[in-house]
C-alpha cells in the first residue's frame, strides 16, 4: 500500500499545476498519468497562448509544459508515475493503479481528478474510413509523432481547435485546407480564422460534410450547404478531393472514475455535456474528491491550470497545511484570474455555466 496526502489522477496542465502547488506547500503528492510523458494535451499545442501576459500568454503551449515538468522534477514531495492507469476507485480514500505491470493500492487523504476530456465524434456515411479522425488526433500526429497522414485536409468545425489545427497542418507542410462550419458564423476567435485565410484556407460557413468515400482510405468528400436547422439544402452538394477529414466538434469530460465513486452530475452544454457538480473550491459532491481542468467542463489549458492550483490550495487548507487567511487570499486571486479568462463574448457562457454548477453544489454541501 502506498500512502500519500494527495493523489492526482492525470498529469495534464491541471494535474501538473495542482501537484506543484500542493507539493510546494509540503503535501506528499502522487501524480499518475497513463501516458509515457506528462503534459496531457499541452505538448501538442505549439501555438502561442492567449490569456494574461502575467500568466504566460504569448508563450507556446509546449514551452509552458516544459517548464511545469521541470519544476515538478525539482520538487521532492511529488512522486510521478507514468505509464500508469488509475483504473478503479475502491472508496474515497483507496484507489487501484496499474503501475510497473502490477496493481498498487493507493491510500490517500484527498484526491484531485484531472483526467481531461475526449473529442466528440460526428456520424456521417464514411466516418469510420481510415483518414477520418479527431482534430486532436491529427494534431498529435503532426506535432508529436511528426507524421502527416495526408496532404489535403477537410476540417469539420470552426471552433478554436478546428482553426488552430488547420493552421498547424499547413505549418507541417500540408498542401491545402477546406474548413466547413454548419452554423452561419465562425465559432472560434476571429484572429485564428484570419490567420488561416491568409494562407489559402477556404472557410465555408453554413456548410457541412454529407459523406466521405474512398478505397481503404479517404479520397473524397461530399459537401453541402445546410439551413438554420443544419438540414442539407437540396441540390447544393459538391465533391472535394481530400485525403484527411478531421472532426473538431468539441470535447466532453472524461469522468469514469467519478462515476465509479458516485459523484453527482449535471447537464451543461456550454461545458461539453454531462459534468460533475462541483463548488467554487473545486470539490465535487463527495467529500475530499476534487476536480480540475477539462474534466470539470471542457475549457482551455489556461483555465485548467488555474483550476488545478485552486483545487490544490483547497486540499492544502482542508488538510490544515495552511492558514485560513492564506487560503482565502490565494483563492480570491485565482478566482479573479479565472473570471478574467471567462469574460468577454467567448467566455461569458462558460462563466454563467460554472456559476449555475456552483449554485447546484451549494445544495449538495448541506448533505455532506
Amino acid at each position: 500500500m502506498f500512502e500519500v496526502d494527495l493523489l492526482i489522477v492525470g498529469a495534464g496542465p491541471a494535474g501538473l499545476c495542482a501537484a506543484l502547488e500542493a507539493g510546494q506547500e509540503g503535501l506528499s503528492v502522487l501524480l499518475v498519468d497513463e501516458n509515457a510523458k506528462p503534459g496531457g494535451q499541452l505538448f501538442k499545442q505549439i501555438h502561442k497562448f492567449f490569456g494574461s501576459e502575467m500568466h504566460k500568454a504569448g508563450t507556446r503551449g509546449f514551452r509552458i509544459g516544459e517548464n511545469l515538468v521541470r519544476e515538478i522534477a525539482e520538487c521532492p514531495n511529488i512522486t510521478l508515475w507514468l505509464n500508469s492507469v488509475v483504473f478503479s476507485a475502491i472508496d474515497q480514500n483507496h484507489f487501484e493503479v496499474v503501475h510497473n505491470c502490477s496493481v498498487q493500492v493507493i491510500n490517500t487523504k484527498k484526491v484531485i481528478v484531472a483526467t481531461g476530456a475526449i473529442e466528440k465524434g460526428l456520424v456521417f456515411p464514411g466516418w469510420t474510413l481510415p483518414g477520418v479522425m479527431g482534430a486532436g488526433a491529427l494534431q498529435t500526429m503532426i506535432n508529436i509523432n511528426r507524421v502527416r497522414p495526408g496532404n489535403k485536409l477537410l476540417m469539420v468545425g470552426s471552433g478554436n481547435v478546428g482553426l488552430i489545427v488547420s493552421y498547424q497542418f499547413l505549418q507541417a507542410g500540408g498542401e491545402s485546407v477546406i474548413l466547413v462550419e454548419a452554423a452561419n458564423r465562425i465559432g472560434g476567435y476571429g484572429v485564428h480564422a484570419s490567420k488561416i485565410r491568409r494562407y489559402g484556407t477556404n472557410i465555408i460557413t453554413g456548410c457541412s460534410v454529407e459523406s466521405v468515400s474512398g478505397n481503404g482510405k479517404v479520397e473524397s468528400a461530399i459537401l453541402a450547404k445546410v439551413d438554420d436547422k443544419f438540414q442539407t439544402i437540396k441540390g447544393t452538394q459538391w465533391e472535394e478531393k481530400v485525403d484527411i477529414v478531421a472532426i473538431a466538434a468539441g470535447l466532453y469530460p472524461l469522468m469514469e472514475l467519478l462515476r465509479q465513486l458516485g459523484c453527482e452530475f449535471t447537464m451543461c452544454p456550454p461545458l461539453g455535456g454531462w459534468v460533475p457538480v462541483h463548488d467554487e473550491r473545486m470539490e465535487t459532491s463527495l467529500n475530499g474528491i476534487f476536480i480540475a481542468g477539462d474534466v470539470s467542463g471542457a475549457e482551455e489549458a489556461s483555465t485548467a491550470m488555474e483550476e488545478g492550483r485552486l483545487a490544490a490550495w483547497s486540499v492544502t487548507y482542508d488538510l490544515a497545511k495552511c492558514t485560513k487567511n492564506k487560503y482565502e487570499s490565494v483563492r480570491i486571486d485565482i478566482t479573479k484570474r479565472l473570471e478574467a479568462l471567462r469574460s468577454g463574448p467567448y467566455g461569458i457562457a462558460r462563466k454563467n455555466a460554472k456559476d449555475s454548477i456552483y449554485a447546484i453544489a451549494k445544495n449538495f454541501s448541506k448533505l455532506r
Binding site: 479522425m133 479527431g134 486532436g136 488526433a137 500526429m141 509523432n145
Partner: protein, 107 residues
C-alpha cells in the same frame, strides 16, 4: 509522410532507425515512436478490419482512447498502436475482427 523539418519544432531526430515487419513486409521506423506513426510514415492507414463487415479502421483519437487502431503486435492482439512504442524487430499484423493470440499465422 514524415514532417522532417518544422518552423516551430525544428528537425526530427531520425538516428535510431529500427527494422520491423508489417504483414510480413520489412519496414523502417524510428525507435520509440508509436507504431501508428511508423505506419503512417509508410503510408499504411488500415490497421484492422471489422469482424462482420470487414471494413477498414485506422487512427481516430491517437491518444489510446478509442481502440480503433488495434493490431496484432508480436502475437498479441488488440494492441493500441497509437500509444505503443516501436521496437527493433517488432512483428505487426493487420487484425481481422477480434484478433487471435499468436497472430494471423496461427489460425
Amino acid at each position: 509522410m514524415r514532417v522532417i523539418a518544422h518552423p516551430i519544432l525544428g528537425n526530427i531526430n531520425q538516428d535510431n532507425e529500427v527494422t520491423v515487419y508489417v504483414d510480413g513486409k520489412e519496414m523502417r521506423g524510428i525507435e520509440g515512436e508509436p507504431i501508428a506513426a511508423m505506419l503512417a510514415a509508410n503510408k499504411i492507414y488500415t490497421h484492422r478490419l471489422t469482424k462482420k463487415r470487414h471494413e477498414p479502421r485506422g487512427i481516430f483519437c491517437a491518444i489510446g482512447r478509442c481502440t480503433d487502431c488495434v493490431m496484432i503486435v508480436d502475437g498479441i492482439p488488440n494492441v493500441r498502436t497509437c500509444v505503443t512504442p516501436l521496437k527493433e524487430g517488432m512483428v505487426i499484423e493487420t487484425q481481422h475482427g477480434v484478433g487471435h493470440w499468436g497472430g494471423e499465422k496461427s489460425v
